[in-house]
């Protein structure tokens, strides 16, 4: 890796995820300092920049559970040369997708109206709230995804391997032990 090379511009986001994948990214620990010699961050929960600009790499955690998720994903696809599905939920919908065989109306009614311990409940309908999708989708249902990094979350080692491969201009290869679905 040559430090003189132009830094890769990287954006990250969490859609229908739990931020666990982002936490795992931080788990690469002091190597973050080394990584910052090769990348610079654009929009990301870590920078608080809200809208993604032209980037070399977009890292997307979480699947698609509402209309806003789809909007943000499309924005990422438009601006990022390489787009990565980061973690189990981005790859196959993950835990949120386990509602997919249920009717969304029944889900909302149970959670906000009839569920155990709910009193004077109502289904939130503020226009600011993004509308939920009938089913949760993995990212590749909606846009082209260039790389998949599975795991709940992907381990720090897998993330490091993936990023160092990309920074060095290699096709990322996760060997055995780094591919995990759990």
């Amino acid at each position: 890796m040559s430090a003189a090379r132009k830094k890769l511009r990287v954006a990250t986001t969490s859609l229908a995820g739990c931020f666990g994948c982002h936490m795992s990214l931080l788990d690469i620990d002091e190597r973050l300092v080394e990584l910052l010699e090769y990348i610079e961050l654009d929009a990301s929960p870590l920078t608080d920049k809200k809208h993604v600009g032209p980037c070399d790499l977009g890292i997307v955690e979480g699947g698609l559970c509402n209309a806003e998720n789809v909007h943000v994903l499309r924005e990422f696809r438009k601006h990022c040369k390489i787009l990565v599905a980061f973690g189990a939920c981005a790859v196959n919908g993950g835990l949120p997708a386990q509602r997919n065989h249920l009717d969304i109306r029944d889900c909302l009614q149970t959670v906000y109206l009839t569920g155990l311990g709910v009193e004077r409940g109502f289904i939130p309908n503020d226009p600011e709230l993004p509308l939920p999708l009938a089913q949760v989708h993995p990212l590749h249902d909606v846009v082209k995804i260039d790389y998949f990094l599975p795991g709940c979350p992907p381990s720090a080692e897998a993330i490091w391997q993936f990023l160092t491969d990309l920074v060095a201009g290699r096709t990322p290869q996760l060997g055995h032990g780094l591919i995990h679905y759990d």
Binding site: A88, V91, N92, G93, A97, H101, L149, C152, Y181, D182
Partner: protein, 245 residues
């Protein structure tokens, strides 16, 4: 009987075999891993998952059902066949509901382990998210049908070893599914018991002992510490203690 060594070639290497061995058995015995899902060393091969597909003299066939024949030319690890196997595994992932992070079988699952072995990082296809209710009626056993890959190992074990015929497959094509032998359709109304062979053969996380799911922590399970090939090659020399895999 002649003493002559019988061999076929596997990706150019001579592989010795004994009469009656399948290509898959001969390959495993010679130390070459062949990915498989519906094959189990204790049962007659079923030939349904096709993950063990090879080319014999240029023709595509399941190696678990094809008898080894002297002089045959067998291809196993070509790019085409690797892609084919990967696609088959991806079909299985996207046809069912496989959420490994919340699955009791994660780390002990053949489908997952074969996925790791083949470098599968996504389902690739658009997932179908089928609706398959869980049968929790039995006091000791959970039937998590979302993960069934229709390998018929439980069907074979229940019929041939337990002599109970608890399980069967019903329907065709994409609607094919596992059913149990009770008029109510509930597992509780069958004579399945936890000692049955059918309890220990499922390669994925369908037939589960209740209250046991996380006895061994994630990270310390069979395929967390071993590859599918290591286990399959050990199995070729004799099945492991717990009957898996």
């Amino acid at each position: 009987m002649s003493d002559e060594r019988k061999t076929f070639t596997l990706d150019g290497q001579d592989v010795e075999f004994t009469e009656g061995q399948t290509i898959l058995q001969a390959a495993l015995a010679s130390g070459t891993y062949v990915p498989s899902l519906c094959y189990h060393p204790e049962f007659r091969p079923h030939g349904s998952c096709k993950v063990c597909t090879v080319k014999v003299n240029g023709r595509t066939t399941a190696s678990c059902t094809t008898p080894a024949t002297a002089g045959d030319t067998v291809e196993l690890a070509t790019d085409d066949l690797k892609d084919l196997r990967k696609n088959l595994v991806q079909f299985l992932f996207t046809e069912g509901n496989h959420f490994c992070p919340s699955c009791e079988q994660s780390g002990n699952c053949q489908l997952q382990a074969v996925g790791y072995e083949l470098g599968v990082v996504s389902g690739h296809y658009n997932p179908l998210f089928p609706s398959r209710p869980v049968d929790a009626s039995h006091p000791d056993v959970l039937l998590e049908l979302n993960r069934c890959i229709l390998c018929e190992l439980c069907v074979r074990a229940s019929a041939l070893v337990d002599r109970k015929h608890v399980f069967s497959l019903s329907g065709r094509g994409i609607t094919k599914h596992l059913v149990v032998n009770a008029e109510s359709g509930r597992l509780a109304d069958t004579n399945l018991s936890v000692e049955d062979k059918a309890m220990s053969v499922c390669p994925v996380g369908v037939i589960l002992r209740k209250r046991r799911g996380f006895r061994v922590p994630i990270g310390e399970r069979t395929f967390d510490t071993h590859t599918a090939s290591e286990i399959a090659l050990a199995g070729a020399r004799g099945p492991t203690e717990d009957g898996a895999p």
